[in-house]
């Protein structure tokens, strides 16, 4: 069998909240090992799109499929078990658990499962990797905002997902941390993880994304390589407004 390089296919997806159309007839494909950026002004439906993929929200129309199988009617735990993991725009750690338990939470029930000593071992390696080594038994609440983001990433990576959804994971980092973050995402991609990221940090978009999708008012207005897309007059218009 020929290995298809298409991992995630979003077809004609629409999501309405009452009268508001948050995502309007959107379609795009993501290939294996690709880093796909979703950008657009605030309120353009980027996070809603992420929520539709992860199953946090149910879509009204259209389909989403992972490796050729529909996932758009599944609940989020089933979607996670198929191999899609995510971080949240507003960081969601598990406050009463330790760092080690937070990281373990991602690998006990998900895509590739571990439990017991093996899970603890893998979780501590993951913490090391995201830069939280040596703090296993610290309660998660003791972390700074940036470290909480690292912890959330460790949890998302724990089940070795095929597709990773990062919702503004780089937002709020200082220049040094941003560079570390970009390097980390690069290394994940080198491991073969397919990444979809919503981001406002344009430097990150330029250096990380193979392709990006620009949304405005729920619809796709451009799609392509970052350099091309970011110089598209239509895109500049939605970001900066019309010429007077």
């Amino acid at each position: 069998m020929v290995e298809t390089s298409l991992v995630l296919a979003v077809q004609n997806v629409t999501k309405r909240f009452g009268g508001l159309v948050a995502v309007n007839n959107l379609s795009f494909d993501v290939s294996r090992n690709e880093v796909m950026g979703i950008i657009g002004p605030n309120g353009s439906g980027k996070t809603t799109m992420m929520n539709l993929i992860s199953g946090a929200l149910a879509l009204n129309e259209g389909t989403i499929s992972l490796n050729g199988r529909y996932i758009s009617r599944l609940s989020s735990h089933e979607i996670n078990r198929r191999g899609i993991a995510r971080t949240f725009q507003l960081v969601r750690i598990l406050p009463s658990l330790t760092l080690l338990e937070n990281a373990m939470a991602g690998m006990v029930f998900g895509h590739q499962r571990l439990w017991g000593e093996q899970a603890r071992h893998e979780a501590s390696k993951l913490l090391e990797r995201v830069g939280l080594g040596g703090q296993q038994s610290v309660p998660a609440t003791a972390l700074t905002y940036i470290d909480q983001k690292r912890l959330e990433l460790a949890r998302a990576l724990a089940a070795k997902p095929e597709v990773l959804l990062l919702d503004e994971w780089l937002a709020g980092l200082n220049p040094t941390e941003l560079q570390e973050g970009i390097d980390l995402i690069h290394s994940l991609r080198d491991e073969g993880i397919t990444i979809i990221l919503v981001e406002h940090v344009m430097d990150a978009i330029r250096s990380l994304c193979d392709r990006c999708l620009v949304m405005a008012a729920g619809a796709k207005i451009a799609e392509g390589r970052p350099q091309e897309v970011l110089s598209d007059p239509e895109v500049i218009k939605v970001y900066l407004g019309e010429d007077i």
Binding site: S96, L97, V108, F109
Partner: protein, 311 residues
């Protein structure tokens, strides 16, 4: 299993064996108090298995407890069924009911869940009274057995052993870990692959099963079963207050609340019986304002602080 795990099992077995020796030394009065304590220990501990980690406050204990007691009464009075057969039937019925209620309440959280469970218990009580008054005649239900308080007490200690063993196992299982994650953030729980509905229903059903089993086992103590008595909402509140007073963070937390509160209630009922509801209310306020994590939680905080300050 680590050596710590085994040690806990051994200690648990020793303490339960000691508890089983109470009838050898207690007289009638203290036996009766011990029985009350045993009953609430089982109810509060099994309640905390579900509500402790998830923070879903269930006030449905009386519904399951009542189903247990009421079915035993109906089966023995109206259908001449043997006591033990009815215990099995009653606890199965309670389990099925808990499973259905669990499925129905899945989408509810926070205060909606609390109100629903309270309303459910009241609805079942009214329904049972109505059926009894209109269809089966208002005859009383008698549970006549040759079981004394000491026998019932031993039965409850055995159920306590079952509940503690289950709790010990859950704390070490993936199910227990899932419940802690659900209690922290249900959205995250779903996104790390936890079937939250399944996990919650399993534990809710287990605590419903235990409550109906206790209701059935304690029925011979009351001899005369009346729906307004066995379905009393006060029971649900007492179970919650006792568990919260002790602390739900640990398996043996609830019993730390059960023993003093049962003794206090006994004293109040004997001396100032008009004020028992008032005491419930005050206890609730004290817990909410001063002991949000229970006596045990408070002790652990103090202990942690002291250790830090000696560094």
């Amino acid at each position: 299993m680590t050596s710590g795990d085994v040690k806990q099992l051994v200690w648990g077995a020793i303490l339960l064996a000691l508890a089983a020796c109470v009838p050898l030394v207690a007289n009638g009065y203290w036996m009766s108090i011990a029985l009350t304590i045993a009953m609430f220990t089982v109810l509060s501990t099994s309640w905390a298995l579900f509500s402790g980690p998830t923070h879903y406050i269930s006030l449905a204990t009386a519904a399951f407890f009542g189903v247990g007691g009421f079915l035993v009464g109906t089966g023995m009075s109206d259908y001449n069924t043997d006591y033990w057969t009815m215990v099995v039937i009653a606890s199965l019925a309670g389990t099925v009911l808990a499973f259905l209620v669990g499925l129905a309440t899945l989408r509810l959280s926070g205060v909606y869940f609390v109100i629903f469970t309270l309303g459910l218990a009241e609805m079942i009580r009214t329904l049972v009274s109505w059926i009894q008054n209109n269809f089966t005649g208002s005859r009383g239900l008698y549970v006549l057995t040759d079981l004394g308080e000491a026998d019932i007490y031993i039965h409850l200690v055995l159920v306590a052993a079952l509940v503690y063993l289950a709790g010990w196992w859950i704390a070490r299982s993936r199910l227990g870990f899932a419940m802690r994650i659900i209690g922290n953030d249900e959205m995250v729980a779903r996104h790390v692959g936890i079937n939250t509905a399944f996990s919650k229903v399993i534990l809710f059903t287990f605590s419903g099963f235990v409550a109906s089993l206790v209701g059935a086992l304690i029925a011979p103590r009351y001899t005369y079963i009346e729906p307004n008595g066995v379905f009393s909402p006060e029971l649900s509140f007492i179970v919650v207050i006792m568990a919260l007073l002790g602390g739900t963070g640990r398996l043996w937390g609830p019993i730390v609340g059960v023993i003093p509160f049962a003794l206090l209630q006994e004293y109040i009922n004997a001396n100032y019986s008009n004020y028992s509801t008032l005491v419930l209310g005050i206890a609730f306020l004290v817990i909410v304002y001063f002991l949000p994590h229970g006596v045990l939680g408070r002790l652990e905080e103090t202990w942690a602080k002291r250790r830090r300050s000696t560094w």
